[in-house]
């Protein structure tokens, strides 16, 4: 195992310069995600247009894995409807947790998350933003926690 497989350049880059970082004003939906183990705290804002993600931003603080995952997610999900987001989320979940899961070529940059599965303690970091956006879309608006 090589650290460079976890901390790929794309991840380090998104950690240092997170994309779509900031808030969206109402009527955007906000949902909060929290990882008590490491203190990661993210807020995801999403603007839905008839169920399709029009705009998404996030803010908060966290480790490189959670920040990069959130940042890459915001780039990947714009224009997706709830069903397409759920399908992508399922693919990401498999990549993060299943040792033998193929990393689909269609994932693009998100494939960089493929190194996380070798570090079970870090899977929660990578999945936090996805679970939080899922909650926002579902209209839960409640806080998500990894525990």
């Amino acid at each position: 195992m090589d650290l460079k497989d976890l901390y790929r350049d794309v991840i380090l880059d998104h950690n240092k310069r997170p994309r779509n970082f900031g808030v969206l004003a109402a009527p955007a939906i906000a949902a909060q995600g929290h990882n008590p183990l490491c203190g990661d705290q993210l807020t995801i804002y999403v603007d839905l247009d008839h169920g399709t993600i029009k705009e998404v931003r996030f803010e908060g603080s966290g480790c490189a894995i959670s920040v990069a995952s959130a940042s890459m997610m915001t780039e990947a999900v714009k224009g997706l409807d709830a069903a397409a987001f759920a399908a992508l989320h399922a693919q990401i979940h498999a990549v993060l947790t299943q040792h033998d899961a193929e990393v689909p070529a269609t994932l693009g940059k998100l494939a960089a998350l493929g190194g996380v599965r070798e570090y079970p303690a870090r899977v929660k970091c990578a999945s936090l933003s996805w679970r939080t956006l899922e909650a926002a879309i579902a209209g839960a608006g409640t806080a998500v926690t990894t525990e």
């Binding site: 650290l3 976890l6 380090l12 183990l37 203190g39 603080s61 894995i65």
Partner: protein, 410 residues
């Protein structure tokens, strides 16, 4: 480097089988002793010998093994009494650990005393184990938790204790050593101040017993709690020392076997101290292992151990402070052997993963002391905590790994 401890470090390290196990293909550098320390052969063997030669239930049977088990268990209690310099074994209660010890005091001592508006005084640097049990009894009784502040070095000023003691204060709860910041608190002085106001004091000694000689009579502590697993002993066993006059007046906490003299449906009489607080079959092999751990550290000498850990602390402080962008969290003048720190641009969680890849085990997060860490406006820190077997080379490995992490994140 030629500085060495006053004991044979190579021989001592050979006593700890886990220290020679490679981690991720590299030699283990174990710097998470504050979370749990490793165990020497002496402890592992004592537990095994108990299981192989002496095990039965204590205080019950007339048969030989039950007597042997009782002797071993009560022998361990006497060993703990001497370790803490308590007056009597009636003051030594075996628990699952520090957390359970504090909960026992909260439920059995504090709860029956507390009226609405009463106060429990604790410091801001406490472990959650010395915060949440008080919040629970306060919720149940209408009392409240009052907090003694810490300064920007992570120190507590005893004068703040004096200022915050009120006619409503029913108990002062203080750590002897902070697990998150390393601060050694002036507990004797704080206890004297509280006693002058008629307030009893519980000391959370979880982080103190592995490093300092404890004398509960000299401290004049009313309650003193610690865990076996931080003292190179087994997990699942800990101690509550309590002043006999206080324990005698307290109702039992849990009911069951061993804590009774006579049971009938008309009424039950409780056993004498300390058994009144030890309901159910205790952790006998754990107590035996704890006694072996105490024998082990006392054979080396706690003053020699703390002298060596002070050298490790100085070296770590010196090496790490040379790293650009590194900031220490907790810089008390009086510190035990641990360093808590953050590094610009790297979340502590990432630091923990990168260090682990190099075999260096540290703790990252809030260390179950969220209010203490929040005082420094960080969500988490990296913490390296030292034990009697750590070496200067291991401190160098820590510093090198931090530099490596910082460069990776450049």
């Amino acid at each position: 480097m030629s500085i060495a401890p006053l004991y044979d470090l190579t021989a001592i390290r050979a006593d700890f089988p886990i220290l020679s196990r490679p981690i991720r293909g590299r030699p283990l550098v174990y710097l998470d002793n504050g979370a749990s320390a490793q165990r020497p052969h002496a402890v592992i063997n004592a537990e095994r010998r108990y299981a192989e030669e002496s095990h039965a239930n204590v205080h019950r049977g007339v048969h030989t093994l039950s007597q042997r088990a009782t002797d071993a268990f009560e022998g361990a209690r006497e060993r703990v009494r001497r370790f803490l310099n308590a007056r009597s074994t009636r003051e030594i209660i075996f628990t699952r650990g520090t957390t359970e010890s504090i909960n026992l005091v909260a439920q059995s001592y504090a709860r029956p005393h507390l009226q609405p508006g009463d106060e429990i005084l604790v410091t801001r640097l406490e472990h959650h184990a010395n915060i949440v049990p008080w919040q629970l009894v306060c919720e149940a009784t209408g009392a409240r938790v009052v907090v003694v502040p810490i300064n920007d070095r992570g120190e507590v000023d005893p004068e703040d204790v004096r200022r915050l003691l009120s006619p409503r204060t029913r108990l002062l709860g203080i750590a002897h050593v902070s697990n998150a910041l390393g601060t050694i608190l002036p507990v004797a002085e704080m206890i004297a101040i509280a006693h002058a106001a008629g307030v009893p004091v519980l000391v959370d000694g979880a982080q103190a017993v592995p490093h300092l000689t404890i004398d509960v009579q000299a401290l004049d502590a009313d309650f003193y709690a610690f865990s076996g697993h931080k003292l190179y002993g087994p997990d699942g066993i800990g101690v509550l020392y309590g002043r006999e006059s206080l324990l005698a007046a307290m109702p039992p906490w849990q009911g069951g076997g061993d804590m009774i003299l006579h049971v009938s449906f008309e009424g039950t009489t409780y056993n004498e101290l300390p058994y009144k607080f030890e309901a159910g079959t205790p952790h006998m092999s754990g107590a035996v292992g704890l006694a072996a751990a105490i024998d082990y550290v006392e054979a080396i000498g706690l003053s020699k151990i703390s002298a060596w850990e002070a050298i490790l602390l100085t070296h770590a402080t010196e090496r790490l402070s040379r790293i650009e962008g590194l900031r220490f969290i907790g810089t008390a003048h009086h510190k035990a052997g641990l360093v808590s720190f953050v590094v610009d641009g790297i979340h502590p969680h990432d630091l923990g993963t990168i260090l682990d890849e190099r075999g260096v085990a540290i703790r990252t997060g809030h260390h179950c002391a969220m209010p203490a860490i929040a005082t420094f406006k960080v969500p988490a820190t990296a913490r390296a905590s030292f034990g009697l077997y750590n070496t200067l080379d291991e401190i160098d490995a820590l510093a090198d790994a931090v530099v490596y992490a910082r460069d990776l994140f450049r």
